[in-house]
């Protein structure tokens, strides 16, 4: 037997609910913001590899704002969310591939993230854009890495400098830069061997390679970390180590053609203040895109927006 008071408040909340629903229909608004909405949002962000702490922080902040700004419905919240995620990315980085004086760019990262493929794709895009591109294969370690880049040079129709497997990567770079000066190249792309950030020896070797290039090159030198979108929370640890050793200038996020959302790139970009300069969306030479923070953010919450 419920009390008179309980019955009254129940009736009130029911009519309030009905009112909200009819308002939504009238104004073509989305569903009401209930706990399951916020839970679902948090789940989506975490499944996108954005990191649990960041996800909680974003949801809390948004919940707060939804109340304060009296956001009418889920759609309003989602568009605000996309803006907020987009804002967290560090912008810039155009000078790396498109600087006026030209540049030397080294591609680094852990094994199998897509460095060699990305070098091939960029070679083609930049050549089409009017650059004089030269490739250098400083992965003298992995079996058939040189042959792999040679195929890409062929596909992009650019010149490549190689030495035989096992030679000193720094001297390959040296030679590439010399060759670049001789032929007047204004974009020199150097592929390096994949390595785990936890291997102190290999990180030191890379540091040495980069410092040789910095000393030798007359063109500005940039280092770019290539991250695989399927990478989980370890991605931040990777990026920090590479940044510490090489003082990175930018990021490239690959394999966004899968179902992984690449949320870890947000943590890396915002925490290390590095711009994302390109994204990889497939294995073909044309599968390279510019990064758009807004598109990325919308894709990150895309599945959820569709359900709501």
């Amino acid at each position: 037997m419920s009390s008179w008071f309980e019955r009254m408040s129940e009736g009130l909340s029911r009519s309030r609910q009905r009112f909200v629903e009819s308002m939504n229909v009238l104004l073509d608004r989305g569903p009401y913001l209930d706990q399951s909405f916020w839970d679902g949002l948090e789940e989506t962000l975490i499944l996108g590899d954005i990191g649990a702490e960041t996800a909680l922080e974003i949801v809390d902040h948004l919940q707060d704002q939804a109340a304060r700004k009296a956001l009418p419905d889920a759609y309003a919240v989602l568009s605000l969310l996309a803006d907020q995620i987009a804002e967290r990315f560090t912008p810039g980085g155009e000078e790396i591939l498109e600087g006026e004086e030209g540049s030397v760019v080294l591609f680094v990262g852990i094994n199998g993230t897509g460095k060699t493929t990305t070098v091939g794709k960029i070679a083609k895009e930049a050549t089409d854009g009017g650059r004089h591109v030269l490739l250098g294969s400083a992965d003298t370690f992995r079996a058939a890495a040189i042959e792999q880049l040679e195929v890409w040079a062929d596909r992009a129709n650019v010149e490549i400098v190689t030495r035989k497997r096992g030679s000193d990567p720094a001297s390959v770079c040296y030679e590439t830069i010399e060759r670049g000066e001789a032929v007047g190249a204004d974009l020199i792309l150097i592929d390096t061997a994949g390595r785990l950030h936890t291997s102190a020896d290999l990180m030191r070797e890379l540091e040495k390679v980069v410092s040789v290039v910095r000393k030798r090159s007359k063109l500005p030198v940039y280092t770019v970390l290539v991250i695989d979108a399927t990478t989980g929370q370890n991605g931040l640890a990777q990026a920090k180590e590479f940044h510490k050793a090489l003082n990175l200038d930018g990021l490239i996020l690959t394999k966004l053609d899968g179902t992984a959302k690449g949320g870890i790139a947000l943590a890396v970009s915002s925490e290390l203040e590095l711009p994302i300069i390109k994204i990889g969306v497939g294995e073909a030479i044309e599968d390279l895109d510019d990064f758009d923070a807004h598109d990325f953010s919308e894709a990150l919450i895309g599945d959820f927006s569709e359900q709501v």
Partner: protein, 477 residues
């Protein structure tokens, strides 16, 4: 900043341990932390969710919250559930009797298949097999060259075939093994996305063409949340038998391993760590658990778990005593505890009306020493089942303890009295064990000798106290 999962769990547990009693809110707090820690280790969101729900449910059971050691019980439950997730047994690569045996490797791009293929070949060679590597990645530039080079380095034949048809190359590879007397064929395939229908169909076509004895999926240990969609799709379409976790030489926690087990039920068979051919090791769930939890601190967690077991054992003992089924060992323990608490005199004077008991009875502390000597001269069986103590046994014990048979008889008489009193007392207090299992039992906090600050006496009636005093009188006399 990167605090390991075990450190976080330890923090939570330390905080819990600080409190005597756990509330539902405490458990919720612990579960929140555990959830964050697991997510940080890249365990899949959905897996974490069900893990936390399961664990929480177990932690909220009355006998955990109301037990004497709730915190330790929570730790033990967490460890239990983690181990279950990882799978209990080591899963080895078992070759069938078919010659040649065919092993096929599948996985996403860049996960480490080619390197793993060479390592597997190397390992099989160490085990006196003669493997053949087959290069079926016709897409990535120089993929076959890579395999050929690796094969050359470890001295394993590589079949690379002609043309662009991986199904044909795979089939020819098996024939090449037969022609060249190889007993295991390892097929390296191109990396493919689980959502690429054409490429997934190709993997199935290779599978149908060569009927592999084993299909192993190579998964990058650094993979994040997406690992679940990936392995689910591969399990459904290609149906692999086990997993090789690659790039384990990094510092990724590899929480994905937990997710793979939970979602597909497929075992992790090997871990691959490094670029050298000899770095493929068998998978050990306990080591993986250590890794996911963060190395060092595991020991302390395990110690806690052992402690829980001991506590539980003690609880079982207390239960037995509460049913009045005491043994001479208990008798000995009780006596020792009495002494630890300051001897009979202090114990009795601490009781309500104890002073009166002290005045009326004589308390002989020396009795405790000789009692201990006598009990120590008994066999284990005799201590557990005092009823078997016949004349010849008593004579033997007396000789061993250097006392007279009368003294042994007195001790047994005293023990029998105590046993009777305990039984009566327990019945009086309404403490009756159901005697069934540890779970689902409602236990009143009635653990006799260690009874904390006599708090348990609150609900006793005057006659209870009178009875208790009588019992102490009996013992003291």
């Amino acid at each position: 900043m990167l605090e390991s999962l075990s450190e976080k769990l330890q923090d939570v547990f330390d905080r819990l341990r600080g409190k005597g009693r756990l509330t539902e809110e405490d458990i919720n707090e612990a579960m929140r932390e555990i959830r964050l820690a697991l997510l940080e280790a890249d365990v899949n969101f959905k897996v974490v969710k069900s893990f936390v729900n399961r664990t929480k449910e177990r932690c909220l059971e009355a006998d955990v919250l109301e037990s004497l050691t709730p915190t330790q019980n929570v730790i033990k439950i967490v460890l239990d559930e983690l181990t279950t997730l990882l799978g209990q047994t080591d899963s080895k690569l078992v070759l069938s009797s078919r010659i040649p045996n065919v092993i096929m490797l599948v996985g996403l791009q860049g996960s480490g298949k080619t390197t793993a293929a060479a390592k597997l070949a190397y390992r099989l060679m160490q085990e006196n097999h003669s493997p053949l590597l087959v290069a079926c990645d016709v897409y990535r530039p120089a993929a076959a060259d890579q395999l050929q080079t690796l094969g050359g380095e470890i001295g394993v034949r590589v079949y690379r075939g002609e043309g662009q048809d991986p199904v044909k190359i795979a089939r020819e590879g098996v024939q090449d093994a037969i022609d060249n007397l190889r007993d295991v064929v390892i097929i390296d395939t191109a990396g493919r996305l689980h959502v690429d229908e054409e490429m997934m169909a190709e993997a199935v076509a290779i599978k149908e063409a060569v009927k592999p004895d084993q299909i192993l999926m190579v998964v990058d240990a650094m993979t994040g949340q997406d690992v679940v969609s990936v392995v689910e799709a591969f399990a459904q379409e290609v149906d692999f038998d086990g997993v090789i976790m690659a790039k384990m030489d990094g510092d990724a926690r590899g929480g994905g391993a937990l997710s793979i087990r939970e979602v597909t039920g497929k075992p992790i068979k090997f871990i691959s760590s490094g670029e050298k051919p000899d770095s493929l090791e068998e998978f050990h769930p306990d080591r993986m658990a250590k890794r996911i939890l963060g190395m060092g601190d595991m020991v302390s967690l395990i110690e806690s778990a052992v402690r829980v077991q001991q506590d539980e054992q003690e609880a079982v003992e207390a239960e037995r005593i509460s049913r009045g089924q005491i043994t001479l060992d208990d008798f000995l323990t009780m006596n020792r505890q009495v002494r630890k608490m300051g001897g009979i005199a202090r114990l009795i004077s601490a009781l309500p009306g104890g002073d009166r008991a002290l005045n009326s009875g004589q308390v002989d502390e020396g009795v405790l020493d000789s009692m201990e000597t006598i009990i120590n001269s008994m066999t284990k069986q005799e201590r557990q089942k005092p009823d078997i103590l016949n004349g010849s046994r008593r004579a033997r014990i007396a000789a061993g303890a250097g006392v007279s048979v009368t003294e042994v008889n007195q001790l047994i008489k005293k023990f029998n009295e105590t046993r009777k009193t305990v039984k009566q007392m327990m019945a009086q207090f309404g403490v009756t064990g159901t005697g069934k299992g540890k779970r689902g039992r409602r236990r009143r906090p009635m653990n006799l000798p260690g009874m904390d600050a006599m708090g348990g006496l609150d609900s006793l009636s005057m006659s209870d106290i009178q009875h208790f005093q009588d019992m102490m009188d009996n013992n003291a006399r």
